[in-house]
């Protein structure tokens, strides 16, 4: 009997909204200190597959819902030849929701967002890197220190239901009867970064590497978190490169996915996150000079971030997700029709309300033996037509990588961001890209 899984509450959105302009595939990658050995990589995948069997699935269409079905086809590691985070063809036996890619020193895993979120992907990457280093050591007749601190998922154990549970259902306080949603006033449409669509129709990546310890220290000295600081910096760079010169001043909104596992005790590898929108409006800020304007943004964003990530607010977001999931009318609408409405709702109330996404996947804590193998990590989000620039942050071995992905030619916002970051923090930043001129 083929195993199947229902898609979690947050993951149900992605099959409806994904397409060529919004692939819903994101990437976590590690740049190693040596070239990736594809044979070892393949062996690693075979070794971790039974423990992470709930990732090795394909997307299937039901009558009212999509679901995930165990995929018994082989999952082969492939040399990277396509642009990062490209869309996938779902209606095929060999269409995978997870891709294993390598090129030179880069070992990448691309995942469709319906199967997991950033945290789940990072845990999976950690397991892959650990067993890669173990197998590599075995081949070289050397020994690698075991994971004595329990940083890696034990692959000897079998997957338990907690690993792939829909934690939204577990932590909701919304009762089935009499559930009501507090309807708030819809926020105004946000400013959107526009530009010339990239000629190759390829996702461009610009990554900056810097010291996480120093940036943490700097953010703390300003009385905020790294996410709060980077979000403020993004808003300021978008303002100074774009909004400042435009007539209508729509708010700049940074969407930040929040990992709920920190506030709610869940060990699920499925999606368990909500998105909070940090917004700043420039209506009454003309008179302020650049320094005081940045301080105003920073203060506002830090306050919003602190307020929106309080447990009671996150609880409200969980309940909101569940409310739409349990909606009795929507439940019995055929999938094809549901797709149309979900896509419409996503465009109207999701895409138009955000300017850019900033995802901080925090630190990858690797066992010391494996950490030696890795130079730095990369996290790449998928851009969309309305939000053509995204930003993701990930840290390993004290090296923080800030990766921008974009589908437009213009680099002004990204340049402004890195210049400002260097100017304010004085940190040494190294930048590289996947295209000839970064364009």
């Amino acid at each position: 009997m083929i195993t199947w899984y229902s898609i979690d509450t947050a993951g149900k959105l992605f099959p409806s909204v994904s397409g060529h302009s919004n692939s819903s595939f994101f990437r976590v990658a590690a740049v190693l200190n040596e070239a990736v050995n594809p044979d070892i990589f393949q062996e690693t995948i075979e070794r971790v597959r039974p423990r992470f069997s709930f990732f090795f699935v394909r997307l299937r269409r039901g009558t009212f819902w999509n679901y995930l079905e165990e995929n018994n086809e082989p999952f082969l590691v492939q040399q990277e030849t396509d642009c990062p985070c490209t869309a996938s063809l779902f209606g095929r036996h060999d269409s995978h929701l997870i891709r294993f890619l390598y090129f030179g020193n880069r070992l990448s895993i691309e995942l469709f967002h319906s199967i997991t979120d950033g945290r789940g992907a990072v845990e999976f990457l950690k397991a892959v890197l650990f067993f890669y280093s173990v197998i590599a050591a075995e081949k070289n007749n050397t020994k690698i220190l075991p994971d004595s601190e329990g940083k890696i998922v034990n692959i000897q154990s079998t997957p338990v239901i907690d690993d792939y549970e829909n934690s939204f259902l577990r932590f909701t306080k919304l009762t089935r009867k009499g559930a009501r949603l507090e309807i708030r006033k819809f926020p105004p449409n946000s400013y959107h970064i526009e530009g010339t669509t990239s000629a190759q129709k390829c996702v461009s990546v610009i990554t900056g590497l810097l010291s996480s310890e120093q940036l943490n220290g700097y953010a703390k000295s300003l009385g905020t978190t790294v996410t709060g600081y980077l979000a403020s910096l993004l808003i300021y760079s978008i303002y100074s490169t774009r909004v400042k010169f435009s007539t209508g001043k729509k708010p700049i909104v940074v969407s930040v996915p929040v990992n709920l596992r920190r506030r709610f005790p869940s060990v699920t590898f499925r999606n368990f996150f909500v998105v909070v929108n940090l917004s700043f409006s420039f209506n009454n800020t003309e008179s302020e000079n650049s320094e005081s304007l940045f301080d105003t943004i920073l203060k506002s964003i830090s306050t919003q971030l602190e307020k929106l990530t309080r447990k009671e607010n996150l609880q409200r977001e969980i309940d909101k997700n569940i409310f739409f999931d349990r909606n009795s009318v929507g439940r019995w609408v055929p999938l094809r029709i549901k797709h149309l409405f979900v896509r419409l709702g996503f465009n109207l109330f999701g895409e138009t309300k955000r300017t850019i996404t900033l995802s901080n996947m925090s630190e990858i804590d690797l066992p010391s033996g494996t950490a030696q193998l890795v130079d730095h990590a990369e996290a790449l989000l998928y851009p969309s037509s309305k939000c053509p620039v995204t930003c993701a942050v990930i840290t390993v071995n004290g090296v923080m990588s800030v990766s921008f992905t974009k589908t437009i030619e213009e680099t002004d916002v990204i340049r402004g961001f890195f210049l400002l970051l260097k100017q304010q923090t004085g940190l040494q930043i190294q930048v590289y890209s996947n295209t000839d001129r970064g364009k």
Partner: protein, 231 residues
């Protein structure tokens, strides 16, 4: 290399700054991270992506379809006072039917069951258009479409029996075919459908198929229904 314009260290092999696009002159840079600059630049290298070739055949086919349709429409418009017959709509439906058929059967996106169902809907649409433009005697609903439905169920049954590996997939489609015949059965109850026996035969055939599925593989069939409907 440090970009003189941005003042930021760039790990590039081709000498271009990804931030401002200018070509950077070779400069000595100070590196503080663990990996040597050269090593990290090489490590961060991305591949040259393969170019996606546009599907020229499909584009030509689509263009031809549009040309035939518009030319047909124009000729029909110019000769309408003489013929009083909208034959161009039949031409348009037919060429789009051919285009969709080629698209469906050459596409890598669909499963075989999806291909059959998509083909069914396009064929049904063509039949309905021809029926409407040739006097609307409802032969499409009463005769042709029910037999299409029987054909789909039969093909899916044969495929399920021959290809046991993908049995579950066909079970889902056969259930969908059952609901399709229910719809056709309901349509046949309207008084304007004169010949009711094809729809009723299709319905009976679908019921027997689903009954057989239930009888021979009860557990799998129930599991499949649960999965499809998330019951």
């Amino acid at each position: 290399m440090i970009c003189p314009s941005c003042g930021i260290e760039i790990l590039t092999e081709n000498g271009f700054c990804p931030l401002c696009g200018i070509h950077i002159k070779q400069q000595t840079a100070q590196f503080s991270n663990s990996a040597a600059p050269g090593e990290r630049t090489v490590a961060c290298r991305y591949p040259v992506y393969k170019e996606k070739k546009p599907d020229t055949v499909k584009t030509i086919l689509f263009f031809t379809t549009c040309v035939v349709s518009t030319v047909g429409l124009l000729i029909n418009y110019l000769t309408f006072t003489r013929d009083h017959f909208l034959w161009s709509l039949i031409v348009i439906s037919t060429v789009f039917f051919i285009y969709k058929t080629v698209f469906i059967w050459t596409s890598r996106v669909y499963y075989i069951g999806s291909k059959l169902f998509t083909q069914f809907f396009w064929s049904a649409q063509l039949m309905i258009v021809i029926d409407m433009l040739t006097g609307l005697s409802f032969w499409s609903f009463s005769l042709v479409i029910p037999w299409f439905s029987v054909g789909i169920t039969a093909i899916l049954t044969i495929m399920a029996v021959c290809n046991r590996r993908n049995y579950q997939e066909y079970t889902g489609y056969m259930t969908a075919a059952f609901f399709l015949s229910v719809v056709l059965f309901c349509i046949s109850l309207f008084p304007f459908i004169k010949a009711k026996w094809p729809s009723w035969s299709a319905m009976l055939y679908a019921i027997l198929t689903v009954f057989a599925l239930f009888l021979f593989s009860r557990r799998q069939f129930k599991a499949e229904l649960k999965k499809r409907f998330l019951l």
